[in-house]
Amino acid sequence: MAKRTRRVGYGLPVVLAVGVHVVALLLTMLRLPDSEVTPTSSSVVQATLVSDVTATDQAQYAEASRARNAQQQAEDQAQQQAAEAAEAEARAEAQEQARDAQAAQAREEAERRQQVAAEAAERAAAAEAEQREEAEAERQRQAEAEREEAEAERQRQAEAERKRQEEEAERQRQAEAERKRQEEEAERQRQAEAERKRQEEEAERQREAEAERKRQEEEAERQRQAEARQEQAAAEAAAAASRDALNDSIASEQERIANAQQSSQASNNFINLVKRAVEDRWHLPSNAANGLVAQVRVRLGPSGELLAASITSSSGNPSFDRSATQAVEAAAPFRELQQLDAGLQRRFRDFNLRFTPGDIQ
């Protein structure tokens, strides 16, 4: 035989072995970007927590916000009331001062009035004295005139001319006296009128004083009311403070909820549990197309039992919708709900699950 079997060398095997390793390394490096591009999701149900805020939650949030508002309002009110009280105090002070001033004024006025009255009395006395003097003088004059008349009677015949003149003068004087009297009368009337006026003024002043008193009383009343309001405000503030404690607890609860949301571990855990349980029990109908999306609203009881599973947005394929609700019904109850925080429990009492068939046929 021309061709003899020779010993197999190591050159080619070494080259081949190194080639195998290089190829393997290249495959690991080349396949990584590929796997990056197509992330294979093994999950069949892409359940997403679409909305976890329920009616009760909203009510709760509303309550909490109301409580917070009430607190703020109470605080505001307290502040306002404090301001009002301060104002009222200031007002009361001002009123007191005003009252004092008024009293002083009234006193002054009274004094003035008394002075006026005294002056008037003096004037009246002076007028009377004058009258009396005048009357005296008249009487003396009359007596003189009588004496003169008697004398003139005696001398009448002789001095008729003079008599007439005297009579004339007498008449004139009488007229004058009459005039004076009338004048005095008028004066008296005027004085009486003035007196009346003064009395009226007095009455007016009394009325005013009364009104003032009333006003003061009213003010006192108002002050008392303000005080009462202040007390009420204080009571309300105390009540608000007690409410504050409740609000604080609510706030801390909410904070805890917020923290839980931030980490969202617990919620993710629960939603993942639910998703897995539902995925395990989901039997996709054979006629389901790939692009179907159904949204199921799931409401749970406090211990995780299923209260209702209803389609909120249908996929258009009734059997697909039915399979989704049946999967949720089969996966219930979700006992893990009991292990969650109270706040999270409330959140997950009502949530939506979105069903989309993955890449399964």
């Binding site: 197999v8 190591y10 095997p13």
Partner: protein, 229 residues
């Protein structure tokens, strides 16, 4: 998976012990693949040669002719080696002794030596494959354990134990196990396959040796009866 988690990057960033383990495993893997290719070629060639020799041997050719056809300096392999060893011993012994049993004993002994040499040659380096197959997972596991130890040490120093502080360490530690398995799995598969081929070839050689022995025995009996006649 970002760039920092790619396998070459992980290997580059691994600790020294893990890197040494990986290097050892790479060497073992390359060696095992060298052995796999070399043995595959060698055994394929040996089988082909065995088939060719079988055809020639049973084609009715004269044994002397067959023996002389092969150049002396060429080192024969496989069944041919067994044939040549036995035939040479037979040719040497026949002129010296009249006892056919002594001749057959000598032939058998020389054939046994040749068979043993062939067995050695067939199974050469297969022990390396067996060693790689059984040891490299443990070596890789050692690298992984070491890497995870490092990860926990770093975790004890970290203030916040997050997955991202542990993940790179564990990933690079797991690369060691992956490499160990990468070396071990082909080694196991090809060890089984190659040793099966080798043992089948060896069985063929032994069958041939027995048949050749019986032919020589027949010849000696015939010669003995001719001489007696």
């Amino acid at each position: 998976m970002n760039d920092s988690m790619s396998i070459p990057h992980l290997i580059m960033n691994a600790s020294l012990v893990v890197q040494l383990v990986m290097l050892l495993l790479l060497a073992a893997s390359i060696a095992s693949w060298v052995v796999i290719f070399q043995r595959s070629f060698a055994l394929a060639r040996a089988r082909k040669a065995q088939k060719a020799f079988d055809e020639r041997f049973w084609s009715g050719i004269d044994l002397n002719e067959l023996y002389q056809d092969v150049p002396e300096q060429h080192e024969a392999q496989g069944a041919e080696h067994v044939f040549r060893a036995g035939f040479r011993e037979f040719n040497r012994l026949v002129p010296k002794t009249r006892s056919s049993e002594a001749v057959l004993d000598g032939v058998q002994r020389s054939q046994r030596v040749a068979l043993s040499r062939e067995e050695d040659r067939l199974n050469a380096n297969l022990t390396l494959l067996a060693t790689v197959a059984s040891a490299s997972p443990y070596i890789g596991l050692f690298g992984t354990v070491w890497g995870i130890m490092g990860s926990f040490q770093s975790l004890s120093m970290a203030q916040q134990a997050t997955l991202s502080t542990v993940a790179p360490w564990i990933a690079e530690a797991l690369v060691a196990t992956a490499m160990g398995l990468f070396a071990a799995i082909p080694a196991v598969i090809f060890y089984n396959r190659l040793s099966a081929i080798a043992s089948r070839l060896l069985g063929d050689y032994e069958d041939f040796a027995e048949e050749f022995h019986s032919i020589l025995h027949r010849n000696l009996q015939g010669r003995g009866s001719n001489q007696a006649a």
